[in-house]
Symmetry: C2
Subunit: 176 residues, 2 copies
């Protein structure tokens, strides 16, 4: 998910690690902070795979920067990861938001719609957090205010997202 974010940000423009760090921190970081010891090894991995290259530049205010640029293989890789998103990328909200943040780069409204439809299918399938035997519990039956909260919040999110998905898919289908 971190690698996806790195590829996604670099697709738009070359960036150095520190800048990347700030952007990734905003995207997922207010929720799940990203450590240096996670970011820099990830950059190295992507470099070793041939998806990005670095040029050393004098730092504007401090130590020299390593400007990172996506290679054409790297651009391919981002598009592949978006098109062939894993199940967890679709279901986990953090990962899904990362996919969504860079889905614009897919630049093909049919492919974009396909990804959105996978999320739509996931949201449509009935699922609850708590069960009484095989019977899913409703918010009112959760048994305590906290579990009620979970169900209430999850429902509100799901409804807002479904509305947005319906509207956006209609627009994408009209384009195609």
């Amino acid at each position: 998910m971190l690698e996806l974010a790195i590829l996604g940000f670099l697709y738009e423009q070359p960036l150095h690690g520190y800048d990347l760090k700030r952007r990734v921190a905003h995207l997922t970081g207010h929720v799940r902070p990203i450590a240096d010891g996670t970011l820099y090894p990830a950059i190295k991995r992507l470099e070793r795979s041939g998806w990005l290259e670095r040029q050393t530049e004098p730092g504007s205010r401090a130590a020299p920067r390593h400007m990172l640029t996506l290679t054409s293989a790297g651009r391919e890789e981002l598009l592949r990861r978006l098109r062939e998103a894993g199940e967890t990328d679709i279901s986990d909200e953090n990962r899904w938001f990362t996919v969504l943040a860079f889905l614009r780069h897919l630049a093909d409204s049919v492919a974009q719609a396909e990804v959105l439809r996978r999320r739509q299918a996931f949201l449509t399938q009935p699922s609850s957090f708590f069960y009484e035997g095989a019977q899913p519990l409703r918010a009112e039956e959760a048994g305590d205010p906290f579990r009620e909260g979970i169900l209430t919040i999850a429902r509100a999110t799901s409804e807002a997202e479904s509305r947005w998905l319906d509207a956006t898919l209609a627009r994408l289908d009209a384009e195609a």
Copy 2:
């Protein structure tokens, strides 16, 4: 987060691994499936720490079960983890929902309210996913429908949760 879920479910009643697996899968699993290779080592860790004990029972329909029971140290540990939740437990939705699912076990409305207030503080602090320089971008300015979606959905969730938090905190404060 997995350990918290295990401690939480076992706080209510003794369970065997397979049953635990189903419950954890429902709690977080429709979003982030839990692998056997993750669950069973986690159970072992908790056992080694003295937080749970196992008794072998003949399986109802198959291989023998290991019934897992929380020790009193294990019950203490759950309460401690709820009271002293880490920052990521508060900010990450998956983790937060896990905390919420077992917060009823804290059985002290003041302590419960304290945890909720930490989440409230997190939701209140301004934060965006995308920035134009230092300026956070609004949903309408996101630049593409997908980033607009992120901001729209996040706002809807945040508003629903804030309403629920306000109402629940009012009730908890009235109790105390």
